[in-house]
Symmetry: C2
DNA sequence: CTATATTTTGAGTAATGACTCACTCACTGA
DNA sequence: TCAGTGAGTGAGTCATTACTCAAAATATAG
């Protein structure tokens, strides 16, 4: 873990221009055909280098897969996911809870959309290379839980939210958003999806007030 | 589409004992290493037949993948998913809405759990072989939407549920359950998951009543 | 401009694995 | 008993591909 962290920072510092060009080519190719069906020759072509060059920068093909996610998570997700959420949360004082949450949802959807190839690759390959999830488990999730828990607890104290477990509230929001994105990608017609803004507002309404008619406060 | 349906029934009728033995071996092997990294020789070993035999029953390795899901969806999911849900819904008259929904949730989680290898394989491979999802898109989803919509509409008429879009209500419930199962499989500690019965009750409470304190009925 | 170090190249290699096919052999019906 | 049948076999084929390495290109130093 401590080793892993150190490794991240090293990679973050030492990644060169060319490292990135190859990594981005790999993301593109892997996301289109899958890691197993992708050929290193295709990655080379996509990156505009020779096949040999790839192996100057990455020991093996597998190394290309794992290296792909670590620096991207560290450099891209960590600041973007956590800082931008935190920033939005900090605007709470001036605004309605609904507006703040809606902003967070829009922001998350946008982030996922702009990284679909990467997320698709990591998500599918993680099923067979669990180490890909280590940074998420060990870095992102705990940090996210911490920030969200603090936010929800303040709302509970303020009396705007029921006294539900903050982690449960976080998971539920993530599930609703994740489900929406997945269904939008995979079967939008079958699930009768409308435009994004409408869907997000409907989701938020359901998240806040539930589906039941009579609300009993316990 | 009509062709596809006919094809399903044919396969359903014509699958022999040995077809199934090989398919089940393939599910096991594919779910452990992924389709791309699995070797037909391993499937043969797992099934207890020679490698050649596999190709007597399935034209290609890819055919093994696609054949794997079609009959399983048709023979296994269609009756189990739809009929058992329908059956539970039909007990509604005698029971509280909460109890009915909780039963459905328990039932779905159980079904997914008992088919994890298959679901894992189809879910991951579908990212690169979209035709795997055709039966789900064309058969299951519409049927599911139909049943759920009917159920939710009746509840709305009865006054137990708010007037939310039934398909949205269905999607939300699926998202919450899916998210729970995924997090349980992938990062239970980070998300502080408790025992299943507790989690399902908490999820249902949140689904019914939302996280907000003041419920405003619109 | 020459010498030296560094990077890039891509043809070659060795291994692998999907698929074939000539053969075996258990079974059936006469 | 025996010819006919076809399911089952697995060694072999052939294409594929991750990776290597000697040489070429390019950058840097003197």
């Amino acid at each position: 873990m401590s080793d892993e962290m150190r490794q991240f920072d090293q990679i973050e510092e030492e990644l060169t221009e060319k490292h990135w060009k190859i990594l981005e080519a790999a993301v593109k190719v892997f996301s289109e055909k899958g890691y197993g069906a992708s050929r290193t020759s295709e990655v080379a072509k996509e990156a505009g280098v020779s096949e040999g060059t790839i192996f100057n920068y990455f020991k093996t093909k597998k190394d290309l897969l794992t290296s792909m996610v670590i620096p991207l998570v560290v450099r891209f997700f960590r600041p973007l996911i956590l800082l931008s959420v935190e920033k939005i949360f900090r605007t709470r004082k001036d605004r309605e809870l609904e507006d703040v949450l809606l902003d967070v949802m829009r922001d998350r959807v946008k982030l996922v959309k702009s990284n679909l190839p990467l997320i698709k690759t990591v998500a599918t390959e993680a099923a067979y290379h669990p180490e890909l999830l280590d940074p998420i488990r060990e870095q992102m999730a705990p940090k996210l839980v911490e920030i969200a828990a603090k936010f929800f607890q303040e709302e509970v104290a303020k009396g705007t939210l029921r006294d539900v477990d903050p982690v449960l509230a976080l998971r539920a929001l993530m599930s609703l958003l994740g489900g929406y994105i997945l269904m939008r990608e995979v079967m939008p017609e079958a699930m009768r999806l409308q435009d994004e803004e409408t869907e997000l507002r409907r989701l938020l309404d359901l998240y806040l007030h539930g589906v039941a008619k009579q609300d009993r406060q316990e």
